[in-house]
Each structure stands twice: as C-alpha cells, then as structure tokens.
C-alpha cells in the first residue's frame, strides 16, 4: 500500500524552474518540505538540481570586461523613465560598469530604452520624449503635413484660394495639422503599451 504511493510521489517531478526557485530559497516552507522529500527519492531531480546549481555558479564566475558605453546608455534610459530612481540607477551604474553586463548586448539598449517610454504607468515626460525622437518624427511629421494639407484644402480651400485670409482661419488651419500629429503620437504610445503588455 505504501509502495505505490511512494512511486507516485517520485514520478511527479517538479518543473525545472521550481528547482531553480528552490535553489534561491524562494519556495514556501511547505513546498520546500515536499520537494526535499521528493529529492530524497529521486536521483534524476537531484541531478537537475545539481546542474542548475552548476549553471548558476558558472554564470556568477563569468569574466567581467568594462563596457561603460553600454552602462551609460542604459542609465540614461533609466533616468529618462524615472529621475527619482537615482539610488537604483547608481547601483545599476556600478553593475553595468562591471564587465559581466556586456552579455546583455545592444538588445538591452533597445529594450530598456523602450521600457523608459512604456512603463506600467505611462508618464508624460517619457511619453513626450518618445514622441519627439527623430525616428518617430520622421513618421509623424510627414503624415501630419499630408493630412493637415488635405483637411485645409477641403475645409478652407475656397478661402485660401480666393485670398480671404483671417487669423481665425489660420488658427483653424494650424489645428488641421496639429490634431493629426497629436492623434498619431497618442496611437504610437498606446501601441507601445499594448506591445509591452503582450510581452509580459
């Protein structure tokens, strides 16, 4: 009666990421006790646990080479997101200045840069910074000019072509350009937010 139960316990191997959490001491006491019992009976899981520990130790021993440029760009992006995070960014600066982080590579620059603009709570300044980036302006300005021109010709064309210009009409024309520009930027910022939520 006891033997089949024991076998069933042994066969239910924990997932590898649970073993990783076990290594970091993140399991609840009851989970830890259950896993300890399982590990006592399961050489396979003990091997996986050992190899995870070797992997973690190996990662910790990777050599460090200074990559101050990478550190600077990431810290700049972090500051853009939250100037109040200075204490954290200083610690990050020391860390990124340390060698190991070269492994994050250029992808991190892009990723952290985007995070600066699409944090969970969208902040106005980072959003403005994002909208005023050259890459965004290359898209939004021509589109706003095109849409604004078409709207102006349709709505105020007769006044423009007959030379009946007035301050009110100029303001209306300016709005024809401004509204699509703002709408495009709002759309881009919202699209980034959606993209981030999908990644999480």
């Amino acid at each position: 009666m006891i033997e089949p139960l024991r076998k069933r316990t042994v066969r239910r191997h924990p997932q590898a990421h649970v073993l990783s959490r076990y290594l970091d001491g993140e399991l609840a006491p009851s989970e830890r006790r259950r896993l300890n019992t399982h590990l006592g009976d399961c050489p396979d899981c003990r091997r996986v646990l050992d190899s995870l520990a070797h992997t973690r130790d190996g990662l910790a021993s990777l050599p460090a080479e200074p990559r101050a440029d990478l550190a600077d760009s990431i810290i700049a992006a972090l500051r853009l997101e939250a100037p109040a995070q200075d204490a954290v960014t200083k610690r990050a600066s020391r860390a990124w200045g340390s060698p190991a982080l070269r492994l994050v590579g250029d992808g991190a620059r892009q990723s952290n840069g985007n995070r600066a603009y699409i944090g969970r709570r969208l902040r106005l300044r980072p959003a403005l910074g994002y909208c005023l980036r050259r890459a965004q302006l290359r898209l939004t300005v021509p589109m706003a000019l095109l849409v604004g021109s078409v709207l102006s010709v349709i709505n105020q064309g007769d006044m423009i072509f007959t030379g009946r210009l007035s301050v009110g009409m100029c303001v209306t024309c300016a709005m024809n350009f401004l509204v699509p520009f703002v709408a495009l930027n709002i759309g881009l910022v919202m699209a980034l937010g959606v993209a981030k939520r999908r990644r999480l």
């Binding site: 990421h17 970091d24 190899s51 992997t55 973690r56 190996g58 990662l59 492994l103 994050v104 992808g107």
Partner: protein, 95 residues
C-alpha cells in the same frame, strides 16, 4: 616574472592540465553563447541577477517589472541556459 620568481599559485596554474583548461574555456564559451541566445527579457534578468549580482528587488526595479515577473523570467532563463549547456556540466545526466 620568470618561472623561478613566480608565486606558488601561478606555478600551480601553469601546471594545470591543458585539457582541463580547454574544457573550462569551452564550458565558459558555451555558457556565454547560451546567455546571448536568450530573449532579451530573460537575458536581462539573468545578467542582472546571476552575473552582476544585483538583488531581485533592484533588478526588477531596473527592468520595470514586478518581483514576481522578474523571478519568473530569471528562473526560466536559468533553466534555458542549463538546457543549453547541460552536456558540458560535470556528471550531468538527462531526465
């Protein structure tokens, strides 16, 4: 520094079997390659925590995610790296 003047530990290093050093270098290269192959979210988590040695809270804050989300990425990243390099780890079997 000549061999005669070298400290004892350096001499020990010089005497280390070339095969051992080659295997260590190979394992380290495999580890780096495995880290580079990770998706950026996983890679950032792994590098900040396991390589740079930041705390979970600090690393999560830097990446702008909750600690729970950060831990999930970290452990999955570690498992991916382990999968990639497991054949080069000592006494590793398969499950």
């Amino acid at each position: 520094v000549s061999i005669d003047e070298a400290p004892h530990s350096e001499l020990a290093d010089l005497r280390e079997a070339p095969e051992t050093r080659a295997a260590q270098g190979e394992a380290r290269a495999a580890l780096e390659q495995a880290v580079r192959s990770l998706p950026i979210d996983y890679r950032s988590a792994l590098v900040l925590r396991d390589i740079a040695g930041l705390s979970t809270g600090e690393a999560a804050e830097i990446l702008g995610v909750s600690e729970a989300a950060f831990k999930s990425r970290l452990h999955r990243a570690r498992v991916s790296v382990r999968e990639a390099v497991k054949d080069r780890l000592p006494d590793e079997g398969t499950r």
